[in-house]
């Protein structure tokens, strides 16, 4: 039987506010346990929550970025359950009326674009952490994280493969960073996904029974977990066993998912509107103020790049992976024509990206500045250097040897475009390689490339490749 995979993601993005969602305690990561938890966070008797407007603003920004409806009012609700790292015995979340409803996110899988629908995004507070190590059979509680603002972003079950799920997660990750609502730090748990996975026979209308994989904090784990889960579910079904709705955990060491709890053990959370918090109104003025302060979104900048510099959607997509990268491209490309624009894009997406990746650096840490890269690209465009020589120059700039012009001068790398000079070299090469000349004339096209190579070598790479080609063809034809 052919199976179709159906995936929906629930993503927790930690909002980048300085203080917590309902208290003034700081949200910074990595402090000594329980030093960033105030009376509200530890739920002393008599304390009350006060909503952080910065968290609300970020939620609105996200909603606008995905073209969603911003509900006014939205309602905070209490989700009641007992756990030692949940100090109040309830989590303040949004249930029946979230602040963000609907919206879409466009993802790129290979060459195809796909639109994933969003169900909702709601504000809520994070819980603390239970620490089971180093306490000799006891459990330690760290409430630093308690009350950290989260935006839970829920997608519709629109993804059909692990690749699509990862592409969605990456696009979402890029977006929340782009609009500055979340730092996206996955190691610190600022961005984590739960994946709802089910399979059904191709052509079936009903969804299969889903299992939810909790707390995936890297794209690799997301991919591995879904792939394993899909194989497991198909095996079960093909062996005639029904899937039971369940929550599972992914173990990165074994690469397997394992059951945490089934639907039968599910809590009755007894949601009800939190009487300590008023319904959250978002006025039109406030909405418009947030909209006015929004940076241009990736989609808009991609279109601009394609339009102004003739880039392919693929290249434009790469350049808008982050706002910093798009800004870098724009500084490099400033005032350039389409031809130079395309060259700039190629260099950023090619050599520069590769180098950054290799050294694990962000674009902001690039050792080739925008001005330096443009300086080099301009020398390619005006024929001063060849693309091949430019590679060496790029490395030299990276190594801190100065700007392209200085390096060209110092190393004598200026391209030879004087046809007389090139002809001289060509003549020498033809004279010294009689066998290849004969081969070429006997119809072996490969011999031509070898002759080009000889000429370039003899010119120490400086000969203008196009001219070398032309002159060589002419001389061999005569």
């Amino acid at each position: 039987m052919q199976w179709e995979v159906v995936i929906g993601l629930e993503t927790h993005a930690q909002l980048s506010t300085v203080s917590k969602i309902f208290s003034g305690a700081p949200t910074a990561f990595g402090a000594e346990p329980n030093t960033q938890a105030c009376g509200v966070d530890i739920a002393l008797p008599g304390v009350l929550p006060v909503l952080n407007t910065g968290a609300v603003e970020r939620a609105i920004r996200f909603g606008l970025a995905v073209g969603a409806t911003i509900n006014s009012p939205s309602i905070f609700a209490r989700k009641n359950y007992f756990y030692p790292d949940l100090p109040k015995g309830y989590q303040i979340s949004q249930y029946e009326r979230p602040i963000v409803e609907g919206g879409t996110l466009t993802i790129q899988v290979g060459d195809a674009a796909k639109t994933v629908r969003l169900t909702r995004a709601h504000l809520e507070e994070d819980a603390g952490k239970s620490l089971h190590e180093d306490f000799h059979g006891h459990t330690g509680i760290d409430l630093n994280r308690a009350g950290t603002p989260l935006l839970e972003i829920v997608s519709e079950p629109d993804m059909r493969s692990a690749e699509e799920a990862v592409a969605y997660a990456k696009a979402l990750h890029a977006l929340v960073r782009w609009i500055d609502v979340c730092d996206g730090n996955m190691q610190e748990g600022s961005f984590r996904c739960d994946a709802n996975v089910s399979v059904r026979p191709v052509g079936a209308k009903e969804l299969g029974t889903r299992r939810e994989i909790k707390n995936l904090n890297s794209f690799r784990f997301l991919q591995q977990a879904i792939e394993y889960e899909v194989r497991w579910q198909i095996n079960e079904l093909e062996d005639g066993r029904a899937i039971q709705q369940a929550t599972v955990l992914f173990d990165p060491d074994s690469g397997e998912t394992r059951m945490m709890r089934t639907k039968e053990d599910a809590h009755d959370y007894r949601y009800f509107p939190d009487p300590d918090l008023l319904p959250l109104e978002v006025t039109v003025e406030r909405l418009e103020a947030v909209r006015a302060a929004m940076p241009p979104l990736p989609q808009a900048r991609q279109e601009k790049f394609c339009h102004e510099y003739g880039l392919t959607p693929y290249d434009a997509g790469l350049l808008t992976a982050s706002r910093e990268l798009a800004d870098y491209f724009e500084s490099v490309v400033a005032g350039a024509d389409a031809k130079t624009g395309k060259l700039c894009a190629n260099w950023i997406n090619g050599a520069l990206s590769a180098r950054l990746n290799e050294e694990g650096l962000e674009i902001a840490q690039s050792r080739v500045s925008a001005t330096q890269l443009r300086g080099m690209v301009d020398r390619i465009a005006d024929g001063t250097i060849s693309g091949k020589i430019a590679k060496d120059i790029f490395d030299a700039i990276w190594a801190g040897e100065g700007d392209a012009d200085a390096i060209i001068a110092a190393k004598g790398l200026k391209q030879i475009s004087d046809s007389g000079e090139i002809e001289k070299i060509v003549d020498q090469v033809l004279a010294a390689n009689a066998q290849q000349v004969a081969d070429f004339r006997a119809g072996k096209e490969k011999a031509f490339n070898s002759l080009v190579g000889q000429v370039m070598k003899a010119s120490r790479g400086k000969a203008n490749p196009q001219q070398v080609n032309d002159i060589l063809r002419r001389k061999l034809a005569s």
Binding site: G46, G89, F272, L277
Partner: protein, 485 residues
């Protein structure tokens, strides 16, 4: 001195007729003698009290005294007060020392008032007789075999017995007004949102409201002036300009329209209470008021609505008492679930458990719509009834409680009978309106009867005016239980 009102004490301190330390010492002495029989206070700390009094005297000497600087008061043990044990009447918090001040405490301290101690109360404010306190019942100073009402029973009895000139209380369904009525003092529950709930241990957040308890309407106004005010730490606290709630005390009542809801007088109250209330209304006619018959058709639903909504909120509010971070934790347990069960099982009393169970039930999957959602709808209808009534009248009057003080143990085995003692007060909380109780007579056994005055939103100044004019014409508020004055 201990028989004086806040206003008189304020004047005596201003005139340097006595010092704040002398005053505080006088009350401490009296508390030391009477409290073991009455049980009004669960915590007194003479050292702290006298230190505060000294500071108040210093402030006065420095010319920095306000109206109530140096005047003592008692705080209901529901308010967190830094350094004071704050128990909420429960074993759960029997050893909890608050690390911060409630907004109300902060404001009283800032005014220079002196804390005499923390008063007894029904456990987590759940009760109408003060019998559910872990620290034992409070006895009514008028008859020690009788209850003082609840849940602010300790505050009420302390003021009635002259163990404090005034006290703070909280009122979720009548917990200021009903004990005020049963002990012959005055109590005011302000409009919801007027006094910050920050630092007040939550029972039912959408109903809880703090207010003053004292012996005269004028004293209520003085204390409300201190307690009320916007607080950014409570999202339901209202942002309103400060006002002097006593500004209209002297206004004559001529033309005042007093609404009498027929549902209040239909049945339920004792003949003595009815007679006394009618006499009070007659007095108001003499003062120039006109009486309007009104109706609050959904009034009869207020008790069932309340006993869905208040326990629902309470079941969630009390979840934080889990034995993990503070409060009672069982000495022995086998695992996490067992720790929760034992700690909460041992830490909470029967009435609190009953309400947690009711609240958990009405919020459960499959019951939520039938109970919680319906109760919320009815709550709106009850509020609409009042809105319609206030188009016809300026204040609403009726009894505060259907009976005078009942005997200890008389209703404690019958929760429904106990719940019905708040039948006249609960609707006011559901609507978020201000309500007060003032003494208006004694029944055949010499026990005080309370007149309830309900105002429109933010009409506290008018209500105090209405009560004050009555107190100028009558002396019921000056009656004291034997041995108190």
């Amino acid at each position: 001195m201990s028989n004086a009102t806040l206003k008189e004490l304020s004047a005596q301190l201003a005139a340097k007729a006595c010092s704040s330390v002398e005053l505080a010492q006088d009350f401490i002495n009296k508390i030391n003698v009477l409290n073991k029989d009455l049980g009004c206070y669960v915590t007194v700390d003479a050292e702290r009290t006298l230190a505060q009094a000294q500071a108040a005297d210093a402030r006065r000497a420095a010319g920095d005294a306000g109206v109530l600087t140096g005047v003592p008061l008692a705080h209901k043990d529901i308010f967190c007060a830094k350094g004071w044990r704050t128990t909420c009447g429960s074993k759960m918090l029997a050893n909890f020392v608050a690390p911060y001040d409630a907004h109300v405490v902060e404001r009283c301290d800032a005014a220079g008032m002196v804390t005499l101690g923390k008063t007894n109360m029904d456990e987590f404010a759940m009760g109408s007789s003060n019998e559910t306190s872990f620290f034992g019942p409070v006895r009514n100073p008028w008859d020690r075999d009788r209850v003082p009402g609840g849940s602010s029973g300790g505050s009420a009895a302390a003021v009635a017995a002259r163990l404090a000139p005034a006290a703070t209380g909280t009122d979720t369904g009548g917990s200021i007004r009903q004990p005020a009525a049963l002990t012959g003092i005055c109590g005011l529950k302000p409009t919801y949102g007027l006094v910050s709930r920050y630092g007040m241990i939550a029972f039912a957040s959408s109903l809880d409201q703090a207010g003053p308890m004292a012996r005269t309407a004028e004293d209520l106004g003085l204390l409300l002036n201190v307690m009320a005010g916007h607080d950014t730490r409570d999202s339901t606290s209202l942002e309103r300009p400060a006002e002097d709630y006593n500004r209209d005390l002297a206004k004559p009542l001529k033309g005042l329209r007093v609404g009498l809801p027929k549902e209040f007088f239909a049945a339920g109250m004792t003949a003595d209470v009815q007679k006394t209330i009618e006499a009070a209304i007659a007095e108001y006619r003499k003062l120039g008021a006109t009486v309007v018959d009104i109706s609050l058709p959904n009034m009869g639903l207020s008790v069932p609505v309340y006993y869905v909504l208040a326990p629902a909120e309470a079941s969630s509010n009390l979840s934080r008492f889990d034995g993990v971070r503070y409060g009672h934790r069982a000495a022995e347990y086998t695992d996490l679930l067992d720790m929760y069960k034992r700690s909460r099982g041992e830490g909470f009393g029967a009435e609190v458990k009953r309400r947690i169970l009711i609240g958990t039930y009405v919020l459960s999957h499959g019951y939520y719509d039938a109970y919680y959602i319906r109760a919320q709808k009815l709550r709106r209808l009850i509020a609409q009834d009042f809105a319609a009534a206030f188009k016809q009248c300026d204040v609403i009057m009726g009894p505060t409680s259907p009976t005078t003080a009942f005997k200890l143990g008389e209703k404690s085995s019958d929760p429904v009978q106990m719940y019905l003692s708040d039948i006249y007060t609960i609707a006011v909380n559901l609507a978020g309106l201000p309500g007060m109780s003032i003494p208006c007579g004694l029944d055949g056994s010499g026990l005080p009867v309370g007149l309830q005055i309900i105002g429109n939103y933010f009409d506290e100044a008018r209500m105090l005016n209405v009560a004050h004019q009555y107190q100028l014409a009558t002396d019921w508020h000056q009656r004291a239980p034997q041995g108190a004055a």
